[in-house]
Symmetry: C2
Subunit: 380 residues, 2 copies
Amino acid sequence: MANEDNAYSFTTKATQHIKLGSLGAEGFPMYKGGRLAEVTLAYECWGELSSKADNAILIFTGLSPSAHATSSELDSSPGWWEYMVGPGKAIDSNRFYVVCVNSLGGCHGSTGPASIDPASGEPYGANFPCLTVEDISRAGFLLMQELGVERLFAAVGSSMGGMAVLAYAIQFPQKIEYLISVSAATSALPLTIALRSLQREIIRSDPAWNNGQYQKGHEPLIGMALARKLGLVSYRAADEWNSKFDRSKLPPEKLSGKHFQHEFEIENYLEYNAQKFVRSFDANSYQYLSRAMDLFDIAEHGGSIESSMSKIKVKKALVIGVTTDILFPSRQQREIAESLQNTGTETEYVEIDSVNGHDAFLVDEEHFSPVVARFLSNIL
Amino acid sequence: MANEDNAYSFTTKATQHIKLGSLGAEGFPMYKGGRLAEVTLAYECWGELSSKADNAILIFTGLSPSAHATSSELDSSPGWWEYMVGPGKAIDSNRFYVVCVNSLGGCHGSTGPASIDPASGEPYGANFPCLTVEDISRAGFLLMQELGVERLFAAVGSSMGGMAVLAYAIQFPQKIEYLISVSAATSALPLTIALRSLQREIIRSDPAWNNGQYQKGHEPLIGMALARKLGLVSYRAADEWNSKFDRSKLPPEKLSGKHFQHEFEIENYLEYNAQKFVRSFDANSYQYLSRAMDLFDIAEHGGSIESSMSKIKVKKALVIGVTTDILFPSRQQREIAESLQNTGTETEYVEIDSVNGHDAFLVDEEHFSPVVARFLSNIL
């Protein structure tokens, strides 16, 4: 079922779309109010569902990735978690039925602000209802029900996806056996809120944003590029850049000669990566997903972090943090692990000493792959 | 001599202006090329110059402060380093003749991009020549010559001002006896360049910037506010905000009710402080001064950091760093201290364990004041 109303829907033969069938007249009620009349979710899957439907792993993504976590016969292009997912890899598609879902509110095939609002025939834009991590998590749950998976073997997620995993286990405690939370948080710290709030404001300050009602071909690309640069700065760690760029300057032939030109390699790196991003991501999706992370506060589910965590009934949890993460610092990872442990969940905590900061899970195969592989292998 | 061509010249009765008299037909040649036909510098001073003119301390500022370092009878409003400078304080105006200079390229009375270019009769704007820390430092040197001070007792500076102090001691080794460098660097790290480059780009992306040729009343205030917010994020430390703001939200009566409104106290704090700043600072000055810090590389003065530092001939140096500074991290402070020490300068290094990040020197009187006071007291 193609979701052709979404301009950013870079779907391939591997992307599947499903319209949640059980919503009925009630639609999809949002956690903080409002409702979506209908919800389409884009996902990819690898491996086979067992006859008992007891081998499904659901992957929730960070803010920007699509459902294309890894390559397959249908789509040979590398996925965003290529090293982690596939036959014989840490999340082994020979053993597991692995599903990755494009987040509700996203722009890679799932219903989001760029989708057509059936009530108006126009894109939702800034009229999309307030989005939360809980909504993303519940959309993933409903997807799995549609796919015939009553109960997950495990949910796995990093960054925003890790928050969604925790929200899944709290909202549907009987429907999940194991969880893996990577570089997530029980709630965002003020520095992290400041950095994300500023990114969103930079986008909204681009006149092309037009209160969220921009037209195709007139997207706020300047604001998006600046916001993405700020995102990139926060995703990586200072020391990685010290060794990678130091104070290297662009070669003379790359200098524009213009006043205020970019002169350092680090400036060029940010420009290149920002431009790669801006045409593939919807500015309103960025607003909603980024804000969802700021709003997430696990304590809302029980009055305190521990009383909320006590609702989780998984057999075992794996929590991974990174020493150089400034956005979701390691003390927040220890907080997740300790509150799980303190409320009766057997928990393994691994703090990875990587130079790659918050983005380490995307690139640091050497450190991440064995930790996830061992955790899943030990469950027989 | 009033410098009335500068729109941001918030000068008071205490601010003095001097037109550098010795420039002659050559004007002021800039370190990286180009020249200014004439240079006016704004400064304030406290205390009395001794008959031997051997008790002068020159203070260089960070990017944004004016020459108003501290209050006086002529201007009772608190200065930006009120706790540090004055009678009986660490930098004691009963003992020293203390001068604080508004940086060349700044907008609080000294010649900068908002000043009138005598050649065109219009503000320099983006036609101001490339500005470096070396230029700022040399302008300060010429000011002191005009004031009858051949040789400084000491130069003191923090952040960009600390860089200017090092450049002073390298460029005029016979003209300075002591130096105090606070939260400075021998050159900027890539993360720091990235954060500053992004601030400048945000300003230039505001359509009102108009290639630097904005008109009075049509300044790029939106870009300036966003840039200042990013600056503020980088000036402070995460833990300070954790204890100060945590996840506090605005009271309902302060919520605008608008979509995408600010909801967290941290967002409100940034907004308030950014708005306070934008009308008091020239956007082009921001471009030039910020870029000067990126361009500064002490190794240019001798081929390496140590060979450059070996040119410094002060009797003793005090280097201060802050554990939580992410912009000019403490390892850069140790680098300054060690390279001074290794090249024969007696150096005291103090690393202050403050929660206030890069801005600590502005607010952490308790930690900073005794360190500076003791250093100066021990010199008799």
